[in-house]
């Protein structure tokens, strides 16, 4: 069982408050992603849960038991680090076996568990290699292997994919998701990449400046962001924000409209503008249009749309998909 509860958890480094106060419930078996811009406190929060940092205030409950003062190893969690943190002087086998050795397991058990983990992670052929002889993806898998042999209550991932190239990242993303479906263990995953968050999470926790901005499933966050920050952070390309008279028409300080919710035509439309840059991705085309009186608006068109720099186009936002925000940036529902 691996439910984790944070109760008014706060953290300061000296006089800097990194996390003012956080309450959060993570259910057993959930895949939770902490996402936010760098410096938002997401890694700190993970390290607090891991026990690598002391909380300044509040409580951390793991399985209903107070784990606030427990040493990292006693919390039944395992962690995959950003740099993988493999032991360079040990073979892959040695790395995966290390936590078991520290727990004092006997040799037969260690061998069996290491073998099992290696099989699951396709590392069987590499067991006797040193980490430096492995590729980035393989190192990543060793780090995961070291985490799973302990059969933890929950896995903690600290930006585990940020050192991989783009193609490999997509692969590992899938592998981790598959692993989660196999093991059904709670996973907490920290990333600054909202695509990773959207694709992997059961539940996303959006953080900014140490505060939780919103908690919800990927689609909830996409459809109903609670504030301007979440609206701008989730979704790619970013949501367009319009202020002033146009926004007041909708009775809001600011309105937001996602690029994919804007129709483009060469004829009539709500807004008229000149195409600045057009990015042709093949499947989609992203147009950056200088709309008269509004500034640059990004809109998504289908991939084969034939527009060029300087063309006049009209844009029509889907009025049912317009997000409205008040002067505090909070969504008006």
């Amino acid at each position: 069982m691996g439910n984790i509860k944070l109760r008014e958890v706060s953290k300061s480094f000296g006089s800097t408050k990194v996390i003012p106060s956080i309450d959060l419930d993570i259910e057993d078996g959930e895949f939770v992603v902490f996402v936010g811009p760098s410096g938002c406190g997401k890694s700190t929060l993970l390290r607090l849960i891991a026990g690598l940092e002391d909380v300044t205030g509040g409580q951390i409950l793991i399985d209903g038991k107070d784990a606030t003062g427990l040493a990292p190893a006693k919390r039944g969690l395992s962690m995959v680090f950003q740099s993988y943190a493999l032991y360079p002087h040990m073979s892959v086998r040695g790395n995966i076996a290390f936590p078991l050795k520290m727990a004092g397991e006997d040799k037969a058990t260690i061998d069996r568990k290491v073998g099992e983990a290696a099989r699951v992670l396709n590392l069987t052929d590499y067991l006797d290699r040193k980490p430096r002889q492995l590729s980035g993806g393989q190192r990543q898998r060793v780090a995961i292997g070291r985490a799973i042999v302990r059969e933890p209550e929950a896995f903690l991932f600290d930006e585990p994919l940020s050192n991989l190239d783009a193609a490999l990242r997509v692969n590992m993303r899938l592998e981790i998701s598959e692993l989660h479906q196999q093991l059904k263990t709670t996973m907490i995953y920290v990333t600054h990449d909202q695509v990773e968050a959207m694709t992997m999470a059961d539940k996303i926790v959006v953080l900014q400046a140490g505060n939780i901005e919103q908690v919800g499933s990927p689609l909830e966050l996409y459809k109903a962001p609670r504030n301007r920050f979440v609206a701008g952070f989730i979704g790619s390309p970013k949501m367009n924000f319009v202020e002033g008279a146009e926004a007041q028409k909708h009775g809001a300080q600011t309105i937001g409209i996602r690029p994919e919710h804007i129709a483009i035509s060469k004829g009539e439309g709500t807004w008229q503008g000149t195409v600045g840059v057009s990015e042709h991705l093949g499947s989609d085309t992203f147009l950056h249009v200088n709309v008269d009186g509004l500034g640059t608006i990004t809109a998504r068109a289908d991939g084969e749309m034939d527009v060029r720099h300087g063309d006049r186009v009209s844009l029509t936002p889907d009025s049912s998909k317009i997000h409205k925000f008040d002067q505090n940036g909070l969504a008006i529902r």
Binding site: P72, S78, M79, S83, F98
Partner: protein
């Protein structure tokens, strides 16, 4: 990067380089050669370079007359002993500074370094008197203590610069994996920093072996290392060049070889990382 260098240029530098190198090395080379001469050949005019009667008798005499091996054993005891004690103190300290730094860590490091700059004469008298009163004069234990203390700042510094290159995440991983503090150090940190620890040991051994202020002032015979042994040859006793050379060769050979192995680390250790 490297460009084709004209052969003539290269040959010129080869000639100059070897000439200068041999010139600097000459006193050492000459000492080694002389150690194999008879006393008569050693002072012949003009000097004999290679064509003399090679003999080992000087080495035999040196051992017989002044019991070279006893001094060498002392040198080994003192340098290894002080290095070992030094490691026991320096590894934990360097661990703490590298992986759990506080705002004051830098000051502590610099302060340690500053003790190295304390001139030995400033504390000679109290140390001498304390040693006399505690019966530590001419004892190995006492000297190990002194040598360990004068090398400790360098050891901490060297280990600190090596440890700092080890990512903290690895130690945290070990912590998550259930390693206790001592296991974290013995199973993860120490094996990972074998090269750093090895060069620290080398440097400390070299410095202790060659230390010639405290060894000269605090020993007379029982604990006297090779520095004292050689100093005993300073009083003229007739024709003794060959024997002096043999004794000198014996005294410097082990450390010269160690030094050649550790030249790179030496820079790091002796400049406290100020030059990379």
């Amino acid at each position: 990067m490297a460009r084709a260098i004209s052969t003539r240029r290269k040959l010129t530098f080869t000639a100059i380089g070897w000439a200068v190198g041999l010139l600097i090395f000459f006193p050492v080379l000459w000492t080694i050669l002389t150690s194999f001469k008879t006393e008569l050949d050693a002072i012949s005019i003009p000097p004999k370079f290679l064509f003399f009667d090679w003999t080992l008798e000087n080495y035999v005499t040196v051992q017989e007359r002044s019991n070279y091996f006893r001094f060498m054993m002392n040198s080994i005891y003192l340098s290894l002993g002080s290095t070992f004690v030094g490691l026991l103190f320096a590894i934990p300290a360097a661990w703490a500074m590298a992986f759990s730094p506080t705002p004051r860590t830098k000051d502590v490091l610099l302060w340690m370094l500053s003790t190295k700059m304390l001139p030995a004469v400033g504390v000679l008298i109290p140390i001498y008197l304390v040693f006399r009163d505690f019966g530590l004069l001419d004892s190995r234990v006492g000297l190990i203590g002194v040598l360990f203390l004068i090398n400790l700042p360098i050891m901490v510094w060297m280990l600190y610069t090596y440890f700092k290159e080890i990512p903290g995440e690895i130690l945290e991983a070990a912590r998550m994996d259930g390693a206790s503090l001592s296991k974290e150090i013995t199973h993860v940190l120490a094996p990972m920093s074998v090269p750093g620890i090895a060069s620290t040991v080398l440097l400390s051994v070299i410095l202790a072996w060659n230390e010639a202020f405290w060894t000269l002032n605090l020993t007379t015979s029982d604990a006297a290392p090779l520095t004292t042994f050689i100093a005993s040859y300073s009083s003229p006793q007739g024709n003794f060049y060959a024997k002096l050379s043999a004794a000198s060769t014996l005294a410097i050979a082990p450390i010269l070889i160690l030094g050649w192995f550790s030249q790179k680390q030496l820079v790091r250790g002796l400049t406290f990382g100020a030059v990379k």
